[in-house]
């Protein structure tokens, strides 16, 4: 049984936001929309202060709170573990946004809004077409690409090789090896959602 997950080597991440941009371009995300972003925080105090860089994306949880609260089964967990949203079913109640302990869901308010006052560019017209106004979206590990045997945009673009994506049920996969050999943690473990994004 396949179970997709992502491991992020935070020490490798340089906070360049290439993942953020690749995700936005690849998924056709307009102004203010992010499936993935990089949180930069300060830890410690002077003289031992340091900057901590942490990429944030949907954790595609095993016990996905968003799927549980969705009143119309629009959000569901696929057999391969990826949590997806059926845009044609979503009623836009946004309960999933509140239930998600990671604040990674986005409400599509105006899919026709572009970056330029002159209107949508040719690229934007093509890229933004699949969004539905009044529905919720999120990172789905680039499920279309994964089905074609490709890596998610953020993984492929990362210049520091900080992201590893693969099947954690396969003991020989790179992600399984990395997780076996390194200490790792998940975000907000107390929420009990069993996230599938691991931080090394």
């Amino acid at each position: 049984m396949t179970r997709y997950a992502m491991a992020i080597k935070t020490k490798n991440c340089v906070g360049c936001n290439s993942c953020t941009v690749a995700c936005k371009v690849g998924n056709g995300l307009g102004p203010g929309l992010f499936y993935s972003h990089v949180k930069i925080s300060e830890a410690g105090t002077y003289p031992n202060a340091k900057m901590v860089v942490q990429p944030i994306l949907c954790n595609n949880c095993e016990n996905a709170a968003c799927a549980e609260v969705c009143p119309v089964h629009a959000t569901y967990v696929r057999p391969d573990g990826i949590v997806v949203i059926d845009q044609d079913k979503c009623i836009g109640c946004r309960y999933c946004m509140i239930a998600c302990p990671y604040d990674v869901r986005q409400f599509i308010t105006d899919p026709d809004k572009g970056y330029y006052d002159e209107g949508l560019t040719a690229f934007e017209k093509q890229a933004y077409g699949h969004h539905q106004k009044g529905t919720v979206e999120k990172c789905e590990f680039c499920v279309d690409r994964v089905e074609q045997g490709k890596l998610p945009y953020c993984v492929q673009i990362c210049p520091a090789k900080a992201r590893i994506f693969g099947d954690i049920e396969d003991p020989d996969s790179e992600i399984s090896k990395v997780l076996r050999e390194n200490e790792h943690h998940v975000l907000n473990e107390a929420a009990g959602t069993e996230p599938c994004v691991f931080y090394l």
């Binding site: 930069i40 925080s41 549980e68 109640c93 946004r94 239930a99 302990p101 986005q106 539905q132 907000n188």
Partner: protein, 375 residues
């Protein structure tokens, strides 16, 4: 009778005007931004109003039950009016949540056939439908009120309020919303609203209703203070917002002017009818703002996490293995949200006026029948 009819007509006209205003703003909003109740928070005033409409409807159903069992003698013979109010508020709640909350209102009927049993929103949807049907039957039923129907309606009403409290309660890791007292707060708020509206129906002359409202308001104030102290102890974001944050003025004004002052006025024996009216209006506003404060305080860190803009460096404090968002978003009330709520109030008034007219006409016809039979 004539006075009631004239009041009813005025209410209908005002309701229609407010509804048309809200509808125009809603349509304009759909054409321009396309966001229902556009603010930087997912939920705001409109959601507080939805909970209040639904809560008040449920409170009225419970008051109707108590009236059936003789607890409020001043309301005897007015049970159909109470159910007219219940039904009007339920219709308003349904329209409010469908059109101001849902991004795709046309898909909401899907819930009838494809609802998820694990979602409390589904439970809320079906329990609201249940109490709407029961209230409609109770409204249309002529003659003496049915005790069985009143009991069933009150049970359904209580269930609605509990489910709506749990909708917030079950959200993962949100300050204040995860409080075990959330259900108690919702029940008290619903009862206070129901009793206050019933007090208007009773012409402000029910001592029992006044004491019930006052008691519920004081209990709410005490619980909110207990919540605050508990929150300060565990250093919750919500308690910080209520003590020194931007919600502090609203929170304390609500507790003092919206809960304690009206309670004192209602408890006092010597309060004039005009004073009771003022206290009742303050009580309704107090409950609305109390709900709003709880909703906003829970959402503040979530909304902050959702605000991401290009070109900005997103810096949030907190250890990397936690997800402790310490940035707080300030709720911006939008004109469209206010307009939507005004439109919803218009619907409540207009629907109540229409239903009350039906109930009154039936009552007159019934009394005429009784008179002619006795002759």
């Amino acid at each position: 009778m004539m006075k009631t009819k004239s009041m009813n007509s005025k209410m209908l006209i005002i309701g229609c005007v407010l509804f048309v205003f809200g509808l125009i703003c809603y349509l304009a909003m759909q054409v321009s931004a396309g966001v229902p109740a556009s603010t930087n928070y997912p939920f705001g005033l409109y959601l507080a109003m939805f909970f209040c409409f639904a809560g008040a409807a449920c409170g009225l159903a419970v008051v109707a039950l108590l009236t059936t069992f003789g607890v409020f003698p001043e309301l005897a013979g007015k049970h159909r009016r109470l159910y007219a109010g219940t039904l009007a508020l339920l219709v308003t709640a349904g329209i409010t949540i469908t059109f101001l909350d849902c991004g795709q209102p046309a898909r909401v009927p899907r819930m009838l056939f494809a609802a998820s049993g694990t979602s409390l929103v589904s439970w809320d949807f079906f329990s609201l439908i249940t109490i709407t049907i029961l209230s409609f039957i109770a409204l249309m039923r002529k003659g003496q009120p049915s005790k069985v129907l009143a009991i069933l309606a009150a049970i359904a009403a209580t269930f609605v309020v509990v489910v709506e409290a749990l909708i917030l309660f079950v959200t993962a890791d949100v300050d204040l919303w995860n409080s075990a007292l959330m259900v108690v707060i919702y029940l008290l708020e619903a009862y206070a609203l129901g009793c206050t509206l019933a007090l208007f129906a009773a012409g402000m002359e029910s001592r029992a209703l006044r004491l019930n409202i006052g008691g519920a308001l004081i209990a709410l104030a005490v619980i909110q203070i207990i919540e605050l102290i508990g929150g300060i102890y565990v250093k919750s974001t919500a308690s910080a917002l209520f003590t020194t944050g931007y919600l502090a003025p609203m929170f304390w004004l609500t507790v003092v002017v919206g809960l304690v002052v009206p309670a004192v006025l209602l408890f006092r024996q010597g309060t004039q009818p005009s004073g009771v009216k003022v206290a009742s209006v303050l009580a309704i506003l107090g409950v609305i703002f109390d709900k709003l404060a709880v909703i906003l305080a829970g959402e503040a860190p979530i909304a902050a996490g959702s605000i991401l803009t290009e070109g900005s460096t997103f810096i949030a404090a907190g250890a990397p293995h936690t997800f402790n968002m310490t940035r707080i978003a300030i709720y911006q009330l939008s004109f469209m949200e206010v307009a939507g709520v005004i439109g919803a109030l218009g619907i409540a008034l207009a629907v109540f006026a229409l239903l009350d007219r039906i109930a009154s006409n039936d009552a007159v016809a019934q009394s005429n029948e009784v008179e002619s039979a006795s002759e």
